[in-house]
């Protein structure tokens, strides 16, 4: 671990209980170990470039709303790493993970210890109440499992995050990840097989399932992560769907604009 990262990890604040974890299961000590491979992926593998990181407030509640892609959630990990490696003071981002993740052995424990939480509205509300930074992928599984021909086209956004933002008076920072779409180009999603296996998607990529599970390992594309200016909306969260959907559309188009900017600025997928 680099001395800078070590220093930042010690500056991460958390309200810990007597046994070293916070009430949600976040453990800074375990997170230190996880930070080592994460930093390697961040600086050496995906060689992440960030833009507009100053748009993420240093303190206080904030919702990061990002596009979701790449079959496996490396995009979430890299956004989390960006806020620690490249931001000063560092911030721990807690992402709202899919409801089936706690069913997975080992993964469930690792997720909890590094501060990730099941994406229920109650959990989100509670964390915002503790002035935390929350990462939400409103496209959910629809986004991450989309096929290569749909790359950088945003799927439908859910409205839950916006109602929570209105209810809790939380600013929304739109986030775009460019580069994750090409890490595992999915040619086809075998939906029936996915259903049979009880997983959200079964992608067919040039390397998966051909090379076995390792075929899901991402290609070393270069990530560019854009953080947009914070958006604030008036309202209390109990408005009609029509009103909220219009506001969701504003967030969605903010993410879309950042994506287009990123695609225009990058010269090649791998550099």
């Amino acid at each position: 671990m680099s001395p800078e990262l070590r220093d930042k990890m010690t500056r991460i604040s958390a309200e810990l209980g007597d046994l070293g974890v916070d009430p949600f299961g976040f453990d800074p000590e375990t997170t230190k170990f996880a930070a080592v491979p994460l930093e390697w992926l961040y600086t050496h593998y995906f060689r992440v470039q960030t833009f507009g990181l100053e748009n993420v407030p240093e303190h206080g509640r904030v919702l990061l709303i990002a596009n979701h892609s790449g079959q496996l959630p490396f995009d979430g990990m890299m956004i989390g790493a960006a806020l620690i490696v490249d931001k000063d003071p560092p911030r721990v981002v807690r992402s709202m993970v899919e409801k089936w993740v706690p069913r997975l052995p080992f993964v469930s424990v690792l997720m909890a210890r590094v501060g990730q939480i099941v994406g229920t509205p109650d959990n989100c509300r509670r964390l915002l109440g503790r002035e935390e930074a929350i990462l939400v992928f409103p496209e959910g599984a629809r986004g991450i499992s989309k096929t290569f021909d749909k790359r950088y086209q945003l799927e439908r956004f859910g409205t839950g995050f916006l109602r929570l933002a209105l209810e809790t008076g939380t600013p929304i920072v739109p986030v775009a990840v460019v580069g994750a779409e090409e890490q595992a180009p999915s040619l086809y999603n075998l939906r029936s097989l996915a259903k049979l296996l009880g997983v959200p998607a079964f992608p067919v990529t040039p390397t998966f399932p051909l090379l076995g599970p390792m075929g899901l390992w991402p290609l070393p594309t270069r990530y560019r992560i854009y953080f947009g200016e914070p958006l604030r909306f008036p309202g209390r969260g109990d408005e009609e769907d029509e009103v909220v959907e219009a506001q969701v559309e504003e967030v969605r188009s903010a993410v879309q604009h950042l994506l287009e900017r990123g695609l225009a600025e990058r010269k090649s997928i791998f550099s």
Binding site: L19, G20, P23, F24, G25, P102, P105, A112, R126
Partner: protein, 328 residues
Amino acid sequence: MVTEQDKPSDPPRPSFPSRPRRDVVLVSGGAGRLGRLVVQTLHREREVVAVDRRPIHGLPKDVTHVRTDLRWRAIEDIFRRYNVEAILHLGLIHNPRAEDDQYRFNVLGTQHLLDLAAKHRVPKLVMLSSANIYGPHPDNSLFLTEDAPLLGAENFPNIRDLVAADRIVQSFFYRQPDVETVMLRPVHIVGPRVKNAPANYLRLERPWTVMGFDPMLQLIHEEDAVHALLQALRPGVRGVFNVVGPGEAPLSRILSTLGRRPIPLPAPLVRGTLERAFRLRMTNFPAPEIRHIQYNCVVDGSLARRVLGFEPQYGLIETIRSVLGHEE
């Protein structure tokens, strides 16, 4: 019994007309380990009548023991003989084997007690339910509030009577606004005396764990649970409350605090083996209970802190270590 409530005045009471009836607190389930602890604390302040169908050992001398089944008519005599100021209902059977008539005992016994409370205008009723009735589920929010759905019996049908009893008391709460009803749903109660599944599990030298899972658990010391029950007895308090001890911790850290060396096994293997061992009566841990060491069932105790004023006296480490103590 609803019509009874509408009558304009007390029915005439022919028995014991001359001497005034003494004020008592009725404690059902007084023979249980927690029940005895409650009685031993409560009798210093109030006169206690303990009801249980089991014999009660080690009761203080000034406590009256009525040995009867909660469903029987004999129990009404207590209401005729004494002025029952409050009922503490701790008398639910939590037997993993659900033998004989546990379902009927818990549901009909609770119903009978509530009917008598309404009929004899008992001003206060405190029921001990459990946070287990929410059930451990992978998609649970952390910190379930009191209005979370009671899904505990979905994967563990043997506790459906406990869920039913909880619901009976909830509806009583609304049907009988004159009775101050309090329901407590404490997290796993542990301590030197109690011998329930979580306390027994923590007493194992080499407990099984489910490989790759490490949920957050909440424990409360038995004396803190008693303390919460006594606070619920205070006049003016009503409602449903989760009761949480000194915080939450991952199972693995609780076990290491106790110096245990757990044996992690894959989930299907634990389940299969436990099912067989349970049938052969080699263990009293029912297989569905392993979900408690696999998924979260973490509740929010802030309402009890705010309204009941409940604060646990025992710290997290003390509470965990309390299972090591021996019964006096």
